[in-house]
């Protein structure tokens, strides 16, 4: 994960410098959802939401923006007054905070932005939609629920208002996964209580594979020669990745303008429905009184957890007159990644999955720092699409990474962070001095990286991206040179040459640190992590209990699969059909190391004794490694000759070890390379139980580092005199280096810490000022266009966290 120092520091400073109200004692009970309304506190009536817009931040205004927050644990709805920055007590006669009781497990809440006198609540526990006089939640007035009229065949999981572009909605929509249906409930004219309900079962048509769309052209790089890999449409997976047969619709989104990107055109409003079983997004056209007409679904290839829709956005940077685009953002429920779909009906690639990630084989998922749980689109300052520096939009001098003005995607993660993704940055025209045409506000604002659907960078970039710090290379306890070498050196790290022999790095990677290390120059492609190359290091997840068959192999439980962990024996390499372009070519195979001691009764046996753990700290256990000749999914074969010509083999033949031993696999005569977040890379697959390098499915492209899925680095070979005669550069999608002689006899470790990279815009929602971070479970990320703030609902600390977007900072925490 990217270092969050800058953003956290700014947030901490903001929280400390702001005169925040003291935290109110905890009152929320696992909040889940929020709806906004505008309350006239003087007359105790409710106004359309837009009424509150001019009065945001005005403490003595009679209008207060209020949030109604569902409390899933207690079956209640609580109100938060954002003008006064306090939680409302629904009944002051009762000690402590009191909220209004609704049905058990409220799963959704909706209030009309135009006619907010009624509030609608979806109750999963009570299996119904409830409507209330809104005063029941905001004032101390005790008001009963309206008589329930809508009986549902199961628990509803979401609730949304109908479109309100042309006035108050005349229907609300809910969804019941168990019933596989969407429900439209008409609102009675006048009192807007619940009227007739219509059921719309989801019908399963033919599932189709998604199609690939085009890469974005919305970008600005300063200077424009920066080597950033563009997302490749060929990297979009056009296959159904997760199949299903029974629809389980569960989330709803109303799109008032439908799939029309061009603001000059008109489309019918649509209801988009996420399905957690079927690999598609259902679509309905919304008619009068909520009448739904099924449309062709969006084929996503995976079930969807949550989705959001962008407004119309210009296709080109700097444009405010078109062409236009519109997007659906969807969380893939199989792996909690986020995909982007073309949602412009006029586009030839309508419904296609877009490439959004560069420099990797798979390009169809946003780069986010953890599994996604919720998302929403932020549009602060987007009215009128006025770029900085354009007529009427004078630079303020505040243009900076933490000033959000435009369109952005906020993704709430399971790790407690919210990642922000650029879609439109209206201030970018005043950023990046190296573009030459920008009136930058800060001297540090030199380089600029902006590309649609890439993570927003949260810091100014004064210098070009590079590896900073000193790589450490310890060989048998001695530091080996990695730079400033004497002429003629052959050990340590060498100046990098490509596997094809040319000097310099592969395309998309830049040369750093005295020309010895290559790293992806794309700030979005390079996760901040430490790469460690360890001499004959252990392959992760290969520790297992194995049964010695007495002659030539160790058998593990059939549920262990060495192929999946990348184990290769000498014969596996030979049988994989490798060529010299393959990094595994000529590899002599991994080794297995016996970890357990001989049976205690054999202490004193000269063949067994070396393999007991020595009592003295200065002694070491004898080398208990055996070369793997052949690796199968659940069996490792050794060379039978080792039973006679190696110490451990003799011990094994002697019966020093029990039939069952613990073992682990190490690389042989090579360095095992792992990234602290990427892990161990390999192309080994299980083919008929034999571990083979997947040459056909994952071929090497000598010009594309993304294809070098390899975790073994080899040192240079020498002649009898010890002179270097050949080297084998090591390449993976993120880094590359070339080892010289490296005369290791015991231990050697090379460490490359990729630091100093631009900070990504990722907000730790558990950071609440001066106290240590709290644990969080993000339930929802919600944008409020009325006050242009982002709200994060955290069910673990039972908090509603409010963020200012204009100058990004934590505003308040309501608990």
């Amino acid at each position: 994960m990217r270092a969050q120092a800058a953003i956290l520091g700014l947030l901490a400073l903001a929280a400390c410098s702001q005169n925040n109200d003291p935290l109110i004692p905890a009152t929320f009970e696992r909040p889940g959802d929020i709806a906004f309304l505008c309350w006239n506190t003087a007359s105790s009536t409710f106004s359309p939401l837009e009424t509150c817009e001019p009065f945001v931040g005005v403490d003595d205004s009679e209008f207060a923006l209020v949030g109604l927050v569902t409390q899933t644990a207690s079956g209640e709805v609580g109100a938060v007054n954002f003008r006064d920055d306090r939680v409302q007590d629904a009944d002051s006669r009762v000690p402590g905070f009191t909220f209004t009781r609704v049905g058990e497990f409220p799963s959704g809440i909706a209030v009309s932005a135009v006619a907010p006198d009624r509030t609608y609540v979806a109750s999963f526990g009570a299996r119904r939609i409830e409507s209330y006089d809104t005063r029941a939640f905001v004032t101390a007035m005790s008001v009963a629920m309206d008589p329930p009229t809508s009986v549902l065949p199961g628990g509803p999981t979401d609730l949304v208002m109908g479109p309100e572009a042309a006035g108050a909605a005349d229907a609300i929509f809910t969804v019941v996964p168990e019933a596989g249906a969407v429900y439209a409930i008409a609102l009675n004219a006048g009192d807007r209580t619940l009227g007739a309900m219509a059921e719309y079962p989801i019908t399963v048509g033919t599932l189709e594979a998604p199609t690939a769309g085009e890469a974005t052209t919305y970008e600005r790089f300063c200077p424009d020669s920066l080597p950033v890999a563009s997302p490749d449409p060929a990297g979009v997976r056009t296959a159904i990745l997760a199949d299903g047969s029974t629809p389980e619709p569960h989330q709803l989104t109303v799109v008032p303008g439908g799939p029309c990107a061009d603001p000059a055109t008109t489309c019918d409003p649509e209801l988009l429905v996420a399905d957690r079983t079927l690999p598609l997004i259902h679509r309905f056209a919304i008619g009068a009184a909520g009448a739904l007409t099924a449309l062709e679904p969006l084929q996503t290839g995976v079930p969807i957890r949550d989705l959001a829709v962008s407004p119309s956005v210009p296709a080109e940077f700097g444009s405010s007159t078109g062409p236009w685009q519109k997007f659906v953002y969807a969380i893939d429920d199989t792996d909690q990644s986020v995909m982007v779909l073309d949602y412009d009906a006029a586009s030839p690639t309508f419904g296609a999955v877009l490439p959004v990630r560069g420099g990797e084989e798979v390009s169809d998922r946003l780069r986010i720092s953890g599994p996604a749980r919720s998302l929403d689109v932020l549009t602060p300052g987007y009215e009128g699409i006025a770029y900085c520096g354009a007529t009427g939009q004078v630079p303020t001098g505040d243009e900076a990474p933490l000033r959000l003005r435009g369109v952005f995607l906020a993704v709430g993660l399971a790790t407690g962070f919210v990642d922000v993704i650029d879609v439109v940055d209206l201030d970018a025209t005043c950023r990046g001095a190296l573009c030459g045409d920008a009136d930058t506000a800060d001297d540090q604002d030199q380089f600029l990286y902006l590309q649609r659907h890439r993570p927003r960078l949260a810091s100014f970039i004064e210098e070009a991206i590079g590896i900073q710090g000193q790589p450490s290379f310890l060989v048998d306890g001695v530091n080996r040179p990695v730079a400033e070498r004497e002429e003629g050196y052959t050990d340590g790290l060498l100046p990098f040459t490509r596997p094809t022999g040319e000097a310099g790095c592969l395309p998309g990677q830049g040369l750093f640190f005295e020309d010895t290390v290559c790293a992806a120059a794309d700030p979005w492609a390079l996760p901040a992590e430490t790469w460690t190359a360890e001499w004959e290091g252990t392959l992760p997840q290969t520790t297992a209990v194995a049964q010695w068959d007495g002659t030539e192999s160790f058998v593990v439980d059939e549920r262990t699969n060495f192929c999946e962990q990348g184990v290769l024996g000498l014969a596996n390499v030979a049988l994989s059909g490798l060529t010299e372009d393959d990094p595994e070519f000529g590899y002599g195979g991994d080794t297995l190391e016996i970890l357990t001691e001989p049976d205690e009764s054999l202490r004193g046996n000269a063949l067994c004794d070396p393999f007991f753990e020595p009592e003295s700290a200065t002694e070491e256990r004898a080398d208990a490694r055996l070369r793997i000749i052949r690796a199968e999914a659940d069996r490792l074969f050794i060379d039978p000759r080792a039973l006679a010509n190696t110490a451990v083999g003799l011990a094994l033949a002697e019966g020093c070890f029990s039939a069952q031993v613990g073992l682990q696999v190490r690389t042989g005569d090579s360095f095992r390379v792992v990234g602290s977040s990427t892990g161990f890379l390999h192309r080994v697959v299980d083919q008929g139980e034999l571990c083979l390098v997947d040459v056909a499915g994952q071929p090497i492209d000598v010009d594309d580092p993304a294809t070098y899925i390899n975790g073994r680095a080899f040192r240079g070979t020498t002649d009898e005199g010890g002179d270097l005669v050949a080297t084998r550069p090591y390449v993976n999608p993120y880094i590359a280096f070339e080892l010289g002689v490296v005369p290791v006899t015991d231990e050697a470790t090379l460490r490359l810490a990729l630091a100093g990279l631009p900070t990504l815009f990722s907000v730790r929602t558990g950071s609440r000022g001066s106290t240590s971070p709290v644990a969080t479970v993000i339930e929802s990320v919600v944008y409020s266009p009325t006050d242009e703030r982002m709200y994060v609902i955290d069910s673990n600390s039972s908090a509603l966290v409010q963020y200012e977007l204009g100058e990004f900072q934590l505003d308040n925490v309501f608990e």
Binding site: G103, R127, L152, E178, A659, V774, T776, V777, S795, N796
Partner: protein
């Protein structure tokens, strides 16, 4: 398993080395006293339902000189509770209950508590601070295993089809005659066995136990977790024999809380407080104890949830009972949530698919499939501080029911055949019996569109035992 209270009293006693077994009065007959663990017996009479509920009482405040192990007749329990408390309104049921007639102190029994003969089938005395229970088939009956901290060892007792607990002092064929026996020494510690030659001893302070049949040979094997980060492997050389120590390994985190085995791989998962990983272990069993051992597997990093950057705090793990579903469910206090874990993708780190909010002080859980209700698979989670039981549908990842107002819910076990849940209420020293029928009537009935209730939650049926607030007991 970790007791809900970290009592300085007992810690001081233990540290002082005086142990927690001392001269003094035994616990009152027929009395639940800080119940800490529950386990249902097999179905001896082949009526499709388990016959007995075995309860370990910890004697947590050391008021008495021992704890106890009790066997309750579930047929009598269900029949009496339904008859006595079932007809009452939901609100009245919380104070309604039954009590064994063996508890002959009737003075402070309220009118709502009915004295029932035949409810308590047998009772034996064990050491104080039993900290868990597990069972495995043994001969024609079942053997229960308890880690007992005051003994610093394993206690075992056999249960026969007649409900009699045999702890060494009572022939297993004898019916419960009202007499209680104290477990004999050989039932309160594992034999040294061949492990003695290796210089191994059962480590002190056992806090969790797992038992299962040996894959080869007769008898069962038992794994205990100990404070101080050690595991011990114990087994029975033959069915019904006295367990003997086989192996001990160390180097685990100090605060292991639970111990469960993945049904497919047999690997043991060890939820742990104050760590950022879930440690694991493997058991290598051979026909000879000398060739059997415990083995540490790679830890699973807790990486896809937000525990605030310090440490996570996992309290329980259960594996999906369906053979075709490879999921685990991890109960976490930090953050307070139930994690749905994809086992196939959990390599090196927990692959958390869902994090469902739970109540404060989440303590224990069970996951059960209900074949009679459309194979619904539900997770039942107790919240000691929030005083509630939450029910989750693990497939839809939704909370479907909640029972509030339980005094101090801790251990929980689910009786699928009877649609009942039994909860050890540690604060009140009673068993809470929760009726799942109203929940299923709602869940099952609504799918047919037959109507709607205000909620689909289970309802309290009644209690077993004499409710006592903790303040009264100390």
């Amino acid at each position: 398993m970790r007791s809900p209270f970290r009592a300085c009293l007992c810690a001081a006693v233990l540290l002082a080395g005086s142990g927690c077994g001392h001269d003094g009065d035994p616990p009152p007959r027929g009395r639940l006293y800080f119940p800490i663990a529950l386990e249902q017996s097999p179905d001896f009479d082949a009526d499709g339902k388990s016959d007995f509920l075995v309860v370990a009482n910890s004697n947590f405040d050391l008021r008495y000189r021992s704890g106890s192990l009790q066997a309750y007749d579930l047929n009598v329990l269900e029949a009496q509770l339904r008859a006595h408390c079932g007809p009452l309104d939901a609100d009245e049921r919380s104070t309604c209950g039954i009590n064994p007639e063996e508890d002959d102190d009737r003075d402070d029994l309220t009118e709502e508590i009915l004295v029932v003969p035949g409810l308590l089938r047998s009772e034996v005395l064990v050491g104080s601070f039993a900290d868990g229970i597990d069972s495995a088939a043994s001969g024609d009956g079942v053997r229960f295993y308890l880690p007992v901290r005051s003994d610093g060892d394993l206690t075992y007792a056999d249960l026969g089809a007649d409900g009699a607990l045999d702890c060494g002092d009572t022939p297993s064929s004898a019916a419960f005659d009202g007499e209680r026996h104290e477990c004999t020494d050989d039932h309160r510690e594992a034999e040294d066995g061949a492990a003695r030659e290796d210089g191994l001893e059962v480590p002190p302070d056992p806090i969790a136990v797992y038992a299962a049949p040996r894959p080869t040979g007769d008898g069962n094997f038992i794994v205990m977790a100990h404070r101080g980060g050690r595991l011990s492997l114990i087994w029975e050389p033959t069915a019904g024999a006295r367990p003997e120590l086989v192996d001990v390994i160390e180097g685990y985190p100090n605060e292991i809380v639970d111990l469960q085995a993945d049904p497919l791989t047999g690997n043991l998962w060890l939820p742990t407080a104050f760590e950022t990983v879930v440690p694991r272990a493997a058991v290598a069993l051979d026909e000879r104890s000398e060739d059997s051992f415990l083995f540490r597997l790679s830890d699973l990093a807790v990486a896809e949830v937000d525990f605030g950057g310090s440490f996570s705090d996992t309290r329980a793990v259960r594996f999906d009972p369906r053979t075709d579903v490879r999921r685990a469910y991890v109960l976490s206090r930090r953050p307070a949530s139930l994690w749905v874990v994809d086992l196939e993708e959990s390599v090196g780190r927990l692959r958390v698919r869902e994090a469902l909010p739970v109540g404060a002080g989440a303590s224990r859980m069970e996951v059960s499939s209900f074949a009679a209700h459309g194979d619904r698979t539900l997770a039942f989670v107790t919240g000691f501080d929030s005083r509630e039981l939450r029910v989750f549908d693990v497939d839809s990842a939704q909370a479907v029911g909640i029972v509030r107002g339980i005094g101090g819910p801790f251990e929980v076990t689910v009786d699928e055949a009877r649609d009942l849940v039994y909860i050890a209420d540690f604060r009140s020293s009673v068993l809470r019996v929760i009726d799942l029928a109203p929940m299923f009537e709602c869940l099952d009935g609504l799918m047919d569109g037959e109507g709607v209730e205000d909620q689909c939650s289970p309802l309290s049926l009644g209690t077993v035992g004499r409710p006592r607030a903790v303040q009264e007991l100390i």
